[in-house]
Structures are given as C-alpha cells and as structure tokens.
C-alpha cells in the first residue's frame, strides 16, 4: 500500500486523516493501526480519536496541543500503519428477523422517497445486486461475516463492511430523500455498508430487517451493555443469523425481563489470511461455534 495519507485540519479543533478515498479492509486496518499508535502516545490535549471506514479524526484542544505538534506526532506513526495485520477481536452473533413487519410498515410509509416505489427495499436490493429473489439476498447478507469499520452517525451505530470478494459486495444506493423515521434496531444498508440503527430516528439506508438485541442503552440493563452503554467497537466481527418471528418474540421477552444475552467469543483475525482466501477464510468464522 503506497497511497499517500492525506491530512487536513477541520477548523482549530480537529485533524482529519484520510487513508484512502475508497473503501477496503486494507485502508481500515491502516487507520486502526494508526489510531492505536496515536492513542499509545497518550498526548495531553487529545479529546478523542474517531476511527472511520477509511479515515480517522482527532478532536483536540489546540491550547494544550498545538496543531503542528499534533500533525507531526500523527505523521510520525505513519510507518506503523502497514505493520499491524492481525487483530484480536470479538466474534458476535446478531439474530435478525429479516423482512419484518415494522420496517415493512415504515418503508411503505416512505415509498415516495424510494428509487423503486413498486418494490420493497429487499426486493429492490436483490434485483440490483443480480440475485434471484429476496431469499437469495438474505442468504448472501447472512452468509458471510461483517467487519465493524466505524461506530457513529448517532450514538453506538455500527457501520459494517462484509468480508467477501469485491465482486460479491452487496451495494445499494441510499433513499432518494432520507426518511424522518426508522425503527430502532433496524438493519440498514447504503453504498457498500451495512448498519444497525441503534436508536429510532431519521435515516437514508435501505431497510432489510430488525434485531431484537439492543446495542445502545444509557440505562445499561443487559449483561453485555454493563461495560459501556455503547456495545460495538470498530474491529468487531459480526455474523447475522436469520431467525423467525417466534424466536424474535421469545428474545424480545428476554430483553424485557433483562435476561437476553448475545453470543460473543474472542477471535484472532488475520487480514492476510482473508486477502489470500476471501471466500474460504470468512467461512471458518461463520462455522466456528458461537
């Protein structure tokens, strides 16, 4: 990777660092490695290091850390950006009720803002990705794991990038005009990115289903939200498991009584193993017992 890293100041309190204009796991890994290296410097005056898909941003106090010193420090860790290609992370199984009644009701309400008002979001996504039908789309969506490549937009919302060869990457445009409503915990998709809407609100991504699992809760009621009210971190690996309505309802009842939990296990991800075998390696992540 020889792409030059681009630096730009976002006013007097942000340094913006672009690893690549286009999305790839390579670019994400460079960003991950660099942000970890900057974090390790423990520079006073840094408020926050925000990692995104193929870029990152440092929010800082220029009274404590002058911008030129921050820039020099970040440039100083550039070499580390190619070094780290393994990641000790979490493999998380997220149950999903695809084609659920709530996102269906919502997408029907906002049909006038959609590219194809005569189809549902799933039918449209299946068609433009060259898949036979909704079932085939769901199989592709839940058939390979996803990398959390950014957390943000609103509190705790994960952006996810599927671990497949570029030609199998599912791509859909955003709505023509954003919706003013999206159900909480909706599975969305825009461009090449999947997401889970952590809170109810506006949104422009296509809607495919809903998970019963809360992923953001300021009250931290469930065990996996004890450590932090925001569940996801960049670098997490997600696999979606299709569930039916009966299982969804059961899980929702568990959420309400506080006993719901997620299958989470540690995993060691290798970027090179993935790049060498982008079809076979992710399958090993899907087949590991949760």
């Amino acid at each position: 990777m020889t792409t030059a890293i681009r630096y730009s100041f976002g006013g007097d309190e942000h340094l913006f660092v672009e690893l690549s204009e286009s999305m790839s796991l390579e670019a994400f890994f460079r960003g991950l490695a660099m942000t970890r290296a900057v974090q390790a410097l423990q520079l006073p005056g840094i408020h926050d290091i925000c990692l995104a898909n193929a870029s990152f941003q440092v929010r800082f106090d220029p009274d404590v850390l002058p911008p030129d010193r921050l820039l020099a420090a970040v440039q100083g860790v550039e070499d580390l950006a190619v070094a780290e290609r393994r990641l000790a992370t979490r493999l998380i199984e997220i149950p999903v009720l695809y084609n659920d009644p709530w996102t269906h009701e919502t997408l029907m309400r906002f049909r006038d803002r959609h590219q194809d008002p005569s189809a549902t979001d799933l039918e449209y996504a299946a068609r433009i990705n060259g898949l036979a039908d909704v079932e085939a789309f769901i199989a592709a969506h839940s058939g390979a794991p996803w990398f959390v490549s950014m957390v943000g937009f609103v509190a705790g919302l994960p952006f996810m990038f599927q671990m497949v060869e570029p030609e199998r990457q599912l791509q859909v445009p955003k709505y023509l005009r954003p919706r003013t409503d999206t159900p909480k915990q909706t599975l969305g998709h825009g461009g090449c990115f999947g997401c889970i809407y952590s809170v109810r609100g506006a949104g422009g991504y296509q809607m495919f289903g809903v998970t019963p699992a809360p992923i953001y809760d300021p009250a931290q009621r469930l065990d996996y939200l004890q450590e932090h009210m925001v569940f996801f971190r960049p670098g997490d690996i997600v696999r979606f498991r299709a569930i039916d309505r009966a299982e969804y309802d059961r899980m929702l009842a568990q959420v309400e009584e506080g006993s719901f939990t997620l299958n989470i296990r540690p995993v060691d991800f290798s970027l090179d193993a993935f790049l060498d075998d982008p079809r076979g390696y992710p399958r090993t992540l899907m087949e590991e017992p949760a």
Binding site: M23, A54, V154
Partner: protein
Amino acid sequence: MIKVLKPGLATSIQDLGREGYYHLGIPPSGAMDSYALRAANLLVGNVPGAAALECTLLGPELHFAEDALVALSGARMTPRLDGAEMPLDEAFVVQAGQVLKFDYLKAGARGYLAVAGGFDVPEVLGSRSTYTLGSLGGFQGRRLAVGDELAVGTPATSAKPGTRLSGDLLPACGGEVTLRVVPGLYHHRLTADAAEAFFADTWTVGSEADRIGYRFKGGRPLAFTPREQPFGAGSDPSNIVDSCYPIGSIQVPAGLEPIVLHQDAVSGGGYAMIGTVISSDLDLIGQLQPNQKARFVAITLEDALAARRLYKERLQRLEQVLAS
C-alpha cells in the same frame, strides 16, 4: 425545586458538554452559545460550566417552590416575574411561589437561564448536558415537558442580586453574521466556481436549524467536480466513503444546501465537507434564527488560532469582572 408549567419550544439542560465519546457517535452536546451559558452562570455565582436551561426561540414558564437567584443571558427574551419586567444579563431574586416566564424573542435564538447552585441532574459520561437523540443526560435524556420538577444545587455564598454584565461583555445577537471558516477536508472536490460562490454569496438560515446542525439556503448551488466515484462512496458527486464529521464542519448534500454541524452533531456520514466553522464562531450560529442572514469567510488555521486567543481573553475578562 422548580416546576415546569410550560416547557417552551425546545428547552433542555445544558452545560459545557462532554468530551471523549465522539468516537462512539456520542457528540459533545452542551450549550450552543457557550459564552452566554458562562455569563449566566457567573452572574449567579456559579462556576461557568454549571448546568443551566437552554431556552430556544420560545421560553418556558416556571414555578419556583423555593427562593432562588437567577439570571438570563444570550437571546433577547425579556424575563417576567409574576408579570413584572426583569432585566436581562443581571442576577435577580425569585421568591418562593413566584412564576417566571419570558417575552417573545427580540433577537438571538437561545436564552440561558442559570440558577444559583445549578440545575441538579446526574452527570452522565462527565456532563449534565442533554443529548436528545441518544436519550442521554440532562433531565431524563430529553427536553423539558409540562410537570417536570427540577432540583437545584446548593448556591455559592458569593452570589448576590444586581450583578450585571456591561460594555463589550454583553452578548451580541441579531443582524447579519460573518462566520469564519477554515477551508479543507474535501474542499478540493468543489469546482473553482463553487469554491468562490460559497464565500461570495449571502446565505439564509433555513427552517431545519437545530442542535444537530444548521441548514443554509439562498446561495448558488455548489457543484462538485465529476469523477468516477471511489468504491463505497455512493453515486452522487457530493458523496464520500463515510467518514468522521468535525463539529462545525460544513457539508453540502447534492451540492444544494450547506449544513453546519453543531453540538449534537451526527458524528459521521457520507457527504463531503468543504471546511469547518472555527470554534470561536460556533456561539454566533447558536444565536441564529431561521431567515437570518449569514456569510462565510475563509481564513487560515493561524488566523483561527488567533481568533481563539481573543475569544479566550474575553472569557477571562468575563470571569475576572464577575468574580470581583
């Protein structure tokens, strides 16, 4: 205890915000005009960053169950105590049983009502500020509603009525504003004409103007240079691979209406940002009403840092004058 009789249009508890959670999508929040928040707090003897009420466009109506020392700064919305006109930018006493409300706004957009002792809500992630989108902080994570009962902390003994602002320490709001911008981020994606037009045109605040961001209308459309879009960026020339958004950054979806993000910013997304309003001009945006005019002027990072020094000096004078 203070009881909310009418909540106003969008009243929430804010302090100076929280840092350190933006990477999880949790924005700083905090007062949209942090100078006015500090002024109101200092007038009643609080620390500058105590929790106060941010009252947007239409103020609340409040019943005081106990005596309190209060002050309003920021937007020009004259306080009325049991109907009697009270001064802006000056500490005054409210007695138990009295009702405080506010006249229609004359200028500005957000008044800050501080009470000696501060509004006593739990700190969440290091701040008492409300982040409504995430139902976090402030009073139960939301704007105030009818019947809410707000607890007040213990006042500092130094607080005294009649303390007031004067001269250049008075807040300024109203009229056409100039917002200073450091161009950058994806500014290079604009055509040369668009880059020139953005700073040449006069813009008008749109109706979509809130704590997340301010949308501006009335300038020429801003064209982005056509290109083969990078993988993952989306098809519109204004699209980028979703990235982080600085507070104050200016995005222009489809090249039509610039949006300046503010304290409750969405932390990232897929629209190219063309620059960032400097931190010391964010207060000016917090006092803009819909239909008010604004212009953007390009400055260097060095000039932004110089402006920041002047802003901090004014804050220091504010503290010195009101502490003495």
